[in-house]
């Protein structure tokens, strides 16, 4: 009864029907040279993956990182072992996406990107922000608050909300012990709540 933590976010109207063919089966078909299977995988995970990349790396680079992630999937397809990868294909996919986001942060410099990220968010407000709908203001506020989170906390929080991964799997993806991942999650939640209430 107490296990009421909400499931990962799926945009309304886009709830996918339970997949008939598993991700792993599609991946096997892609491995065998069936690009249509790859396309089906992209469609299945596109929204969640793009939202995740938007949140952790920003709107401007999310699409590019998204494409890089899928090509990386193709490049390393032989390395995926469903018996070894905890969380299955989706966890592996988000792990690759997280690595791409980390590479992006490293290549651009954390400080610079952090400033740019905030700038992007504030630029989007525009001069007529006061006339926006309340929902849009809230969305902008949320984006600003997310941008102010430390990168490590943001990653854990977004992985939790946008992927099906368990905390143990998230800890593996970001490369830290379970208690560290949980600590980051807790701090991120409190900080985000406080920022949104300001």
């Amino acid at each position: 009864m107490l296990h009421t933590m909400v499931p990962p976010i799926v945009p309304k109207g886009q709830e996918p029907a339970p997949p008939v063919v598993s991700d792993e089966a599609l991946l096997q078909r892609l491995r065998d040279g069936d690009a249509a299977a790859g396309e089906a995988l992209v469609k299945r995970h596109c929204t969640a993956l793009l939202h995740y990349l938007q949140r952790v790396a920003g709107d401007q680079v999310a699409e590019e990182l998204h494409q890089q992630t899928w090509l990386s999937v193709l490049d390393h397809i032989e390395k995926f072992d469903p018996t070894l990868s905890g969380g299955g294909f989706k966890a592996w996919l988000f792990r690759i996406a997280t690595n791409k986001a980390n590479d992006f942060w490293r290549s651009r410099g954390r400080e610079k990107v952090a400033k740019e990220g905030l700038k992007l968010v504030t630029d989007e407000e525009g001069p007529d922000a006061s006339h926006r709908l309340h929902g849009q203001e809230q969305a902008d506020k949320l984006k600003r608050a997310i941008a102010m989170l430390p990168e490590s906390q943001r990653q854990v929080l977004m992985l939790r909300y946008y992927s099906d991964m368990k905390f143990l799997e998230i800890a593996q993806v970001v490369g830290c012990p379970l208690n560290t991942a949980l600590g980051r999650m807790h701090k991120a939640m409190l900080k985000l709540k406080a920022l949104m209430e300001e």
Binding site: V6, A40, Q54, L157, F167, G183, M185
Partner: protein
Amino acid sequence: MIDTLNDDSQILLLFLAGELPEHDRMAIEQRLATEPALAEELEKLQSTYDHIGARLQDADELTAVPVNIHATARSIGQLMRQRLAEPRPLVVVRKQPAKSHLRPWLIPSGIAAAILVGSALLISRSGMFQPTQAVAIKAGPTTTVATHPASDDNLELFKDSFTPPNRDIADVLSPSGTPKDMSIQDDVSPFLLKVGTIQE
């Protein structure tokens, strides 16, 4: 699992996510029933998590993903087709040099052993440790061994240096250093025969 976590908030996060093992989950449920503060913290965590989730969902609906999903899938699918159509690079299999079955440490050990044996042979041929000449004289049905010390000093050195395992060399040599005749019987020490020179 609980033992590895730092505080209750971490445990409660796992509890809310349904990721605690059965044993730990039952322990937390027992604590929640008796600790109001813990139950209150759980409620706050749940509320905060739900609130953030709802705000993210609203924001995602308002902030359209900047690309058309189907178009994106098609373009990535096209890239995948191109990659798959490319001839796969030939895998060059380089012949690896035959691996030695010897353990790596055996080689230096063998060299060291060879040096040791060689040194021992050189030293033994140089006569440094040949204080006496043992002569075995075959006489009749028995063999007589006579030892001739090169000098008294060498004799003392020889006596002090060795303690034959089965028989003391002093028993073979007379106190004055003069040869002591002795017939080799079955109980003659093999050690003496090794250090001496047997002459037929």
